[in-house]
């Protein structure tokens, strides 16, 4: 059932490992290999992926602190093996699944996606992941289910931010079932063909590329099928500012800042802003929200 969605990128867009490990080093040093890598990526429309260094050093993962560098510094304490995921609610096969068992037999695909944070910065990330629909089909969604709820692990002694109670942990998120089943929605297990770094949400996280980044919940330990809209952490913390849908939308501002433009990470001190795209440049999801007032359902 995988490969429902066709990447608009080709093999030429895959970045050689040497190039993504440290772009600036390449620029300074081994020009030959670096030039090939950069030329290859220049063809990828505007989707030049961020370097692994950028992706793993600038993160929001409040369980490890609120600074952008805190997760990279503190997340090594997270214990990710063994890992099991509790699947419960309106499913045919509920239970505690070892991660490998849950993913056994499912295809891992490369997905180069834009990633837009609600704070108006963005990256381009070459994920490796499994369509969430495949996982949900495997556990068997019952007919009355309308929503999927997710929960992040809590390891208080390994997550220094948990004690600070910046949010009401565990971090929780949710999707409407049709959003969860959309072929763009994946459960990522890797970036650049390597296992996820802990600060990126190891060992498995949600990626919903047309929604603000906080919807893409990290280090998931529980998936619940339900018939009611589940509460989500940021909405619980501040309902006026963060809605359940949180689709990327340049026409609906966050109450405290504009969402019309964004800064692509990686441009240095003089990076210019660029226009934010409706649904983060994934218009194929528009039909999910037909007839809905998106400024009302922000």
């Amino acid at each position: 059932m995988a490969y429902r969605w066709t990447n608009d990128l080709t093999q030429a867009d895959v970045t050689p490992k040497a190039a993504y490990l440290n772009r600036r080093q390449i620029l300074a040093g081994t020009i030959g290999l670096g030039a090939i890598g950069l030329a290859g990526r220049a063809n990828a429309q505007d989707l030049e992926p961020n370097t692994l260094e950028e992706i793993t050093s600038y993160n929001n993962f409040y369980e490890f602190g609120t600074g952008k560098g805190d997760p990279a510094q503190n997340a090594h304490q997270l214990v990710t093996s063994p890992w099991s995921i509790k699947v419960d609610g309106m499913v045919d096969n509920p239970g505690d699944y070892a991660l490998d068992d849950l993913l056994a037999g499912l295809s891992v695909e490369d997905r180069l996606y834009r990633f837009r944070c609600v704070e108006a910065w963005s990256m381009v990330i070459p994920w490796n992941g499994i369509e969430l629909a495949d996982i949900l089909n495997k556990v068997g969604v019952q007919s009355g289910a309308k929503y999927v709820a997710f929960e992040t692990v809590v390891q208080p002694e390994n997550m220094i931010g948990v004690q600070r109670r910046v949010l009401d942990f565990p971090y929780i998120e949710g999707l409407r079932l049709d959003e969860a089943m959309h072929p763009l929605t994946i459960m990522a297990t890797g970036i650049y063909d390597e296992s996820l770094a802990n600060q990126n949400g190891a060992p498995i996280r949600l990626v919903v590329p047309w929604k603000y980044g906080f919807k893409s919940i990290k280090s998931i330990v529980r998936i619940t099928l339900t018939d009611k809209e589940p509460p989500i952490s940021w909405n619980v913390a501040n309902a006026r500012e963060y809605g359940f849908y949180s689709n990327v939308n340049p026409t609906v501002d966050h109450p405290r800042w504009s969402q019309a433009t964004e800064r692509r990470i990686g441009g240095g001190l003089f990076a210019s802003r660029q226009d934010t795209l409706m649904f983060n440049g994934y218009p194929e999801v528009a039909s999910l929200y037909e007839g809905m007032d998106l400024s009302e359902n922000f």
């Binding site: 600038y58 409040y62 609120t66 109670r165 910046v166 504009s258 990470i265 990686g266 240095g268 001190l269």
Partner: protein
Amino acid sequence: MAVAQTINGGLRRIPAWTIYIVGAIYVVWQFWLALNQIGPYLVEPINVLERTYGEAGLILLVVGLLVTPLRKWTGVNMIKFRRAIGVTAFFVVLAHLLVWAVLDVQSLGRMWTEIVKRPYVTIGMVSFVLLIPLVATSNNLSVRKLGGATWRKLHKLTYPVALFAALHYLWLAKGFQIEPIAYAVAVGVLLATRFRPGLSYSGLFRSRGRQ
């Protein structure tokens, strides 16, 4: 108060202009780090530089407000540094504003929209504007021209400046974060000492001293 006297003795040997030098070096050094994307500036230098300058400005405003209560409570006298602290605060806040305007929002139209539409930007801008008459009169000629009483009254504007700056930081935080709350509490306590003389260290220093 032997400790205070020792500290005062040490402070007397440091000229006030060192504050300007240290402030200028700090601003340039942080800009250089951001330009070369070193340390905390590795991935996203613009936002980090903006916050670094903003926080440094707020710290200087808090330190400026601390001078009088510190003398009242401990006898440590930093009064000769206060003008330099205040003027340096202005220039650091100016650097913060310039990073926001030039590197972050990048257009006059967007600047105006942000100032008008976002209360935390509005209040930050008000705080900066209130600093302008203060920095403009931070010289001996202005003190003479205005007269001591008027000058002191004008410079009570530092109270709303610090208050608005603390609110500006508190307002932009996401979730329940400690740092902005800590600054807001510090400013709140320091302002309370101005209006609640009972909080002063009364037994030691009866005279109110210069504000």
